[in-house]
């Protein structure tokens, strides 16, 4: 064999892809734009708080959906599942008198069952997910209507409504009208981020693996840390930390870990990249598909809990078009239509882009019809921009 040429210090392997910076920049631009257009009303503490609480369901659904889409599938049923789970939760508390935590457990179980049902047809029978979940969209909407023949169910316990519409208590008191706990959480998160990044880098240094230049690491995480603390500062001026924000943060961390660091996550990417090659490498593709849908079902169940909790009751029309919001968020966040590409963080940013647009346009009292039109165009442009970028980057 010939001699290997000495290779220069390889590029850092975890550079966030350009597309993800692109979408982050787009989010920043949209925020600044609406901040100017609304004379600073966009980032009023109350609005920032609402941005989180109003969009929590999209964020949750987008996290499940990005996994489905990376694997090369789609799920059109999540909106109906949200409605059905909402109905079940409300009934279990209202009619059966179950405590709120039991209702939550039942909701997640129902979600898992729905996911297992759809996963069975997709993975083991081999029906394309588009068809299975289109059927699911009708089936679960229909069942919701059956469950809610008595009409809307409201009057849910306050512990339950707190999930989607409540805040952490002011355990550390208030200073100058600001919630100290929220600020403390913000500072701690920022510190944790920096410590974690530095420790990762130290490990890479010890193992002599390629790593990011220290300057870019500090700049990137410095900006992120400042953004986190500023965000916490804004929230502290309203009612403090929304409970759902804690749930979301855990989901984002957990699912990023799942996709990046686990065998399951790797199998999802491998199947989206080349299903045949994954099969021939020993990946149990049917079971991976099955669990992707079970997971989507559980997250749809969670989204059902959150939206029912925020609405304070269950209605048959709940969750309409939620699947489209989630799918749009995933694609705006840089996932590939052909599968194999996408990230949790991208999907979350995509959902925030849609959320900020919604809020900004609402503050400007733009008509709902126009809001929808504008959101559609943004989705199209985001994906077009992405494709244009990929071509310019010299794809084949």
């Amino acid at each position: 064999m010939s001699t290997t040429t000495p290779v220069k210090r390889a590029k850092p392997r975890f550079t966030v892809s350009l597309r993800q910076y692109g979408i982050l920049a787009a989010l920043a631009i949209i925020i600044v734009l609406f901040q100017i257009l609304t004379d600073g009303r966009l980032l009023l503490p109350g609005n920032v708080n609402n941005l989180i609480q109003q969009n929590a369901y999209v964020l949750i659904l987008a996290i499940g959906m990005v996994i489905v889409i990376i694997a090369g599938h789609i799920d059109l049923s999540v909106g109906s599942v949200v409605a059905m789970v909402g109905a079940v939760t409300a009934i279990s508390m209202g009619s059966w008198g179950l405590p709120w935590w039991a209702a939550v457990v039942i909701a997640l179980l129902v979600g898992a069952l729905v996911g297992a049902w759809q996963g069975f047809w997709v993975a083991f029978v081999g029906i394309p997910a588009f068809i299975v979940t289109l059927a699911g969209m009708l089936i679960f909407r229909g069942l919701t209507l059956v469950l809610l023949t008595g009409g809307t169910i409201s009057g849910l316990p306050s512990e339950f409504t707190a999930i989607g519409a409540g805040w952490l208590p002011a355990w550390l008191g208030e200073v100058g009208g600001r919630d100290v706990l929220t600020i403390a959480l913000g500072v701690l998160t920022a510190l944790a981020l920096i410590v974690q990044q530095l420790r990762t880098r130290a490990t890479l240094l010890k193992l002599d693996l390629p790593r990011e230049p220290i300057v870019s690491l500090w700049v990137k995480n410095g900006i992120a840390a400042v953004a986190i603390v500023w965000f916490a500062w804004l929230l502290s001026g309203y009612s403090g930390t929304p409970i759902i924000l804690i749930v979301l943060a855990m989901l984002i961390l957990g699912y990023t870990f799942l996709l990046n660091q686990t065998v399951f996550g790797r199998h999802v990417y491998a199947m989206g990249g080349n299903l045949f090659a994954a099969k021939m490498s020993g990946v149990k593709t049917q079971w991976v598909d099955f669990f992707i849908f079970v997971n989507m079902g559980v997250l749809a169940g969670l989204a059902g809990i959150v939206s029912t909790s925020r609405a304070g009751g269950a209605v048959a029309s709940a969750g309409q078009n939620y699947e489209l919001d989630a799918i749009a968020a995933v694609f705006i966040g840089g996932a590939a239509v052909t599968g194999g590409v996408g990230t949790v963080v991208g999907a979350v940013i995509g959902a925030l882009v849609m959320g900020v647009l919604n809020m900004g346009l609402s503050i400007l009292s733009v008509d709902a019809a126009w809001q929808m039109t504008i959101k559609g165009l943004v989705l199209l442009l985001a994906v077009a921009f992405d494709i244009f970028n990929k071509r310019r980057a010299g794809g084949r």
């Binding site: 390889a10 890479l204 390629p210 686990t262 990249g273």
Partner: protein
């Protein structure tokens, strides 16, 4: 015939983000000749053809192109096709669910005001099929044809466009000997009709047979142009120009150290997955010993790949019967996962379709079949994964800037090395390598032979399936021949000649 230059490409320079893929290539093609272009992986052959056909538009490269005496500036493939330059890629570009006739006239339909004249289409298609010597109904769907016939449809399509210069990229890479021979005589036939051909090929025998002139490209530069009727026209000379060093012998030396029997397969019978009445493999029995390299010869469609895939976790076929013994104990492998756990590895013949995640980087491909080795409680140690991938990059001499390089952008030889790395990392006892050197240049082939020898030296049982008989003879200790699903012969490599193998390969046929 007039002896004029039909194509002159002068001093072509093309760079991709500062990396020069072509660095001053010049090539003169004489009208009516068959002109071969040779070179190692990444030498720039394909890039050169893309420059010529307008895939890379005029202006995105330096240098000049003259076609039929006039400077040309193609912006798209349509521009070059309008001048009669047609390129047939290695990966055929036919639409499987359309008929032969529809494919031939795709984008060039016989129509009046958008309505297709089917009689004319089928009649003309039949004439074109006759010209390329393909006996098929023009209404037959392309998916029903084998690769060899599909290639002929591509050429018929080119002829329908009044082709003057036909470019064939590795035309026989996926063909069996029969189909290759047919294709080569067709090219000679077309030359007789005044069609100029550029053929990109690694197969020196082929080049010797049909080329009038050979241009060798290395590192994006023209090394030399050799007239094949001259004294320089030897295989050794061409190889030397391609790799820039002497290949003393085509196969690295090896001392076989053969141990106990590792694999025994008995009465293995497999039926076709769709046409379930058809036996694809018929009562095949064979053994492989530790440290032994066993070759499998057979014409395309003889059942070699089907035999291998059905053993490897039943990934092919239905109604599979027979027994597999490993180290004397009978084992069951119902899934690929079980096969891997039993110490089997199968590197597919179609690495792009079955072997690699092309949008993934080298790291994820190398670890794909043995993630369990790198994970604890389902969590991957990515630092170790990186180190493993990097060690294979160095050990296997995979030419890529880093293990973060996307495998889809590597050359065929380097992709094959990634596939081999993946299976070697899985730590198998039995490796089945299906066409391990297909579409790979001479230098990389030599390296892959070295890797195979090393695996055998480590005591692994190695099965090599190959269409190239010299390769099987040079590499194996023992060769089985399969014909129409049956094992028709077993030959010690020392006694094997291409003639004896071919005799067994055609044994089932009259």
């Amino acid at each position: 015939m007039e002896h004029t230059t039909i194509l002159r490409m002068h001093n072509i320079v093309k760079d991709f983000n500062g990396v020069k893929a072509l660095n001053g290539v010049s090539i003169d093609v004489v009208r009516g000749e068959v002109h071969a272009v040779c070179g190692e992986n990444g030498a720039g052959k394909s890039t050169l053809m893309k420059v010529l056909s307008g895939v890379y538009p005029a202006g995105s490269f330096e240098g000049t192109i003259e076609f039929e005496g006039k400077p040309v500036f193609y912006k798209t493939i349509n521009d070059s096709e309008a001048d009669g330059i047609v390129i047939i890629h290695q990966e055929l570009a036919l639409s499987p669910y359309l008929s032969i006739a529809e494919n031939i006239f795709l984008g060039n339909e016989n129509s009046t005001r958008g309505v297709i004249d089917w009689n004319k289409t089928n009649r003309e298609a039949a004439l074109l099929l006759a010209r390329v010597g393909l006996v098929e109904n023009p209404a037959t769907k392309v998916l029903e044809l084998g690769v060899g016939k599909q290639q002929l449809v591509e050429i018929a399509k080119a002829l329908s466009k009044q082709v003057k210069l036909l470019i064939l990229d590795e035309p026989t890479a996926a063909l069996n000997d029969e189909d290759s021979a047919h294709l080569l005589s067709l090219i000679e036939h077309l030359r007789g009709q005044g069609i100029t051909c550029i053929i990109i090929s690694h197969k020196l025998k082929e080049i010797k047979r049909i080329a009038d002139t050979v241009t060798v490209i290395r590192d994006g530069k023209t090394i030399e142009t050799i007239a094949m009727d001259g004294p320089d026209a030897t295989e050794a000379r061409i190889i030397r120009s391609m790799v820039g060093r002497e290949l003393n012998n085509l196969f690295p030396p090896r001392e076989p150290k053969i141990g106990d029997e590792v694999l025994r397969v008995t009465d293995w019978t497999v039926y076709h997955p769709v046409d379930t009445a058809r036996k694809v493999v018929d009562a095949a029995s064979f053994t492989v010993r530790a440290g032994e390299i066993v070759g499998f010869a057979g014409l395309m469609g003889a059942g070699r790949t089907e035999l291998a895939m059905s053993i490897f976790g039943r990934s092919y076929g239905t109604k599979i019967s027979g027994s597999i013994f490993k180290n004397g104990n009978e084992i069951q492998m119902r899934t690929v996962d079980e096969a891997i756990k039993h110490g089997f590895a199968y590197a597919t013949e179609d690495r792009k379709r079955y072997g690699l995640n092309l949008i993934g980087d080298i790291t994820v491909n190398v670890s794909a079949a043995a993630l369990g080795k790198l994970a604890k409680w389902g969590v991957i140690d990515r630092n170790r994964e990186y180190k493993v991938a990097n060690s294979y990059r160095e050990k296997m001499n995979i030419k890529a800037p880093s293990v973060s390089s996307i495998t889809g952008k590597l050359s065929g030889g380097n992709q094959q090395k990634v596939v081999l790395s993946k299976w070697i990392f899985a730590g198998p006892d039995i490796l089945i390598l299906d066409e391990p050197t297909r579409g790979i240049d001479v230098g990389a082939k030599y390296e892959i032979y070295g890797i195979i020898n090393e695996l055998a030296a480590q005591g692994k049982a190695v099965v090599v399936i190959s269409s190239e008989l010299p390769e099987l003879i040079g590499l194996s200790d023992r060769i089985y021949v399969i014909s129409e699903g049956k094992l028709t012969g077993e030959v010690a490599a020392a006694d094997a000649s291409q003639e004896t193998l071919m005799h067994y390969m055609t044994a089932g046929k009259d």
